[in-house]
């Protein structure tokens, strides 16, 4: 995970239960990362976060782990090209 002052908050709140590898595999929008935090709170015992911390975690995750052009299922064979919809 990239070094950044916000990284410590991710380590303190997320890496207790699962490894950073799970985060680094994923790429999601800000909204989607926000929903993951909600899901972890509802289902998996994540505590309520101070609003400032939550905002920093979401901004860190969405900055470094956001959707990019997908390499997709075939890795460096590249994405599966499909014709655009007319």
């Amino acid at each position: 995970m990239p070094e950044d002052p916000r990284k410590i908050l991710v380590i303190k709140n997320c890496i207790m239960c699962h490894s950073a590898k799970l985060i680094a595999q994923n790429s999601m929008s800000k909204d989607a990362w926000q929903n993951i935090i909600l899901y972890m709170q509802e289902k998996h015992n994540l505590r309520q976060l101070p609003p400032g911390d939550e905002q920093k975690i979401v901004s860190y995750l969405s900055q470094y782990f956001s959707p990019k052009v997908s390499h997709g299922i075939d890795g460096d064979l590249g994405p599966r090209a499909i014709n655009p919809l007319p």
Partner: protein, 400 residues
């Protein structure tokens, strides 16, 4: 006691609880990881805590998947009981919509019921998740969260019939001994199940052995369900309890959006409400190219006898044919297809192709089942959690 001393003691107590928790759980999981690292050198680790690892396609080329190439998908921490060969403390309780409820020791189970061995496909519901765009959350499985080893165990239906199913019995629920990643001992990690008709199939097992040996700790020792054809999450590990229910089970990861797909197709990236989702049952028609390894080189002199092979399977019955293309789907060639060893075993396909000239090729395979359903080339049916991607697999080949 003065305040500072009280605070000091509180701190000590807290740090003790904290370190004990971290030590105990991290250590247990570390243990599973180390044991795994020893046996499973072949796998690519996607997540080391909880453990999630898959095979590269060319590592799945054997008819019966060896244990060291079988994927691992753990939702929580492997329970300490999985490392103890002493089974005197273990029992399986079977409760719910039955004429009689009972707890069985391993000795009871082995004495009372006949042991069956089948070669059965186990595939993670999220196998292929990496193919979805926009990306969907979770472990980014590509092709390798599937395998077809030999499982030995008793038929779940023999166990249920021993106790007598009531007419109200509708659904099977399982509970395992694994530990929630947060360490909360009261929380179930995963407690899923399947409808009673699936429980009554000959190949739905309470399994004790994988490829003739006791289940390894990461695969559910001492007992697990095997519910072939359904997402592998229906095949609960470290089994301690089976609850026969009069309704669809609502345990951990049965509700919300876990292991569910939209009832009606949605555009990629859509938000879907939980009420518009349905539980995944039979896994789709699929194939895998296991030989050669992607990006292999083929000598020009061998281009007329290029051998390619793999497996095909479906959660709904037998595969009728497998077609292979080396020109992006412009021409197709039907492969030789073997019979499955038993229902829900994968089927070997193999073909010798004549590649026309030097250069770059992509080989695609496409399985078709008995009802005519086959595999799409592009990723089908985007869904919020990225399940059941059965798009055709492809490999790259260079004729040089």
């Amino acid at each position: 006691m003065d305040k500072s001393r009280r605070n000091f003691l509180k701190k000590i107590a807290l740090s003790y609880i904290y370190s004990d928790f971290v030590f105990k759980h991290f250590f247990l999981d570390k243990k599973s990881f180390l044991a795994f690292a020893e046996d499973k050198k072949d796998l690519e680790v996607l997540n080391d805590r909880p453990l999630n690892a898959q095979a590269e396609p060319h590592k799945l080329d054997q008819q019966v998947t060896p244990t060291h190439s079988l994927f691992v998908r753990n939702n929580g921490i492997v329970p300490s009981a999985a490392y103890q060969s002493d089974l005197s403390k273990w029992s399986l309780s079977v409760t719910g919509e039955l004429n009689q409820e009972k707890s069985y020791t391993m000795k009871d189970l082995l004495k009372k019921f006949k042991l069956y061995t089948y070669q059965l496909v186990l595939e993670c519901g999220g196998n292929g998740r990496a193919g979805f765009y926009p990306p969907t959350p979770g472990n980014q499985w590509t092709y390798g969260a599937v395998g077809c080893p030999e499982w030995s165990g008793i038929r779940l239906k023999d166990l249920l019939n021993d106790l007598g199913l009531k007419s109200s019995a509708k659904y099977i629920a399982y509970y395992g001994m694994d530990i929630h990643p947060s360490g909360d001992m009261k929380k179930d990690v995963i407690s899923r199940g399947f409808p009673i008709h699936k429980a009554l199939e000959d190949t739905t097992l309470v399994a004790f052995k994988l490829n003739g040996k006791d289940l390894p700790p990461v695969h559910g020792f001492p007992a697990r369900l095997i519910c072939p054809g359904f997402p592998a999450s229906a095949s609960g590990k470290w089994l301690k309890k089976i609850w026969v229910r009069d309704r669809v089970h609502d345990g951990a990861k049965m509700t919300g959006n876990s292991y569910k797909i939209p009832k009606n197709p949605v555009a990629p990236g859509s938000k879907v409400l939980d009420k518009d989702l349905m539980i995944i049952e039979n896994m789709p028609v699929k194939s895998l190219i296991t030989f050669p390894r992607s990006k292999s080189k083929v000598a020009v002199k061998d281009k007329d006898k290029f051998i390619c092979r793999g497996f095909a399977w479906s959660g709904s019955g037998e595969i009728a044919k497998v077609d292979v293309s080396f020109d992006f789907g412009q021409t197709w060639h039907t492969a030789k297809l073997s019979q499955p060893a038993n229902p829900f075993a994968w089927q070997r396909w193999e073909i010798t192709l004549v590649l026309p000239q030097q250069g770059y090729y992509e080989v695609w395979s496409c399985a078709t089942d008995m009802t005519g359903k086959s595999q799409p080339m592009v990723t089908p049916g985007w869904n919020p959690k990225g399940y059941v991607n059965n798009a055709m697999p492809r490999i790259a080949i260079n004729v040089v």
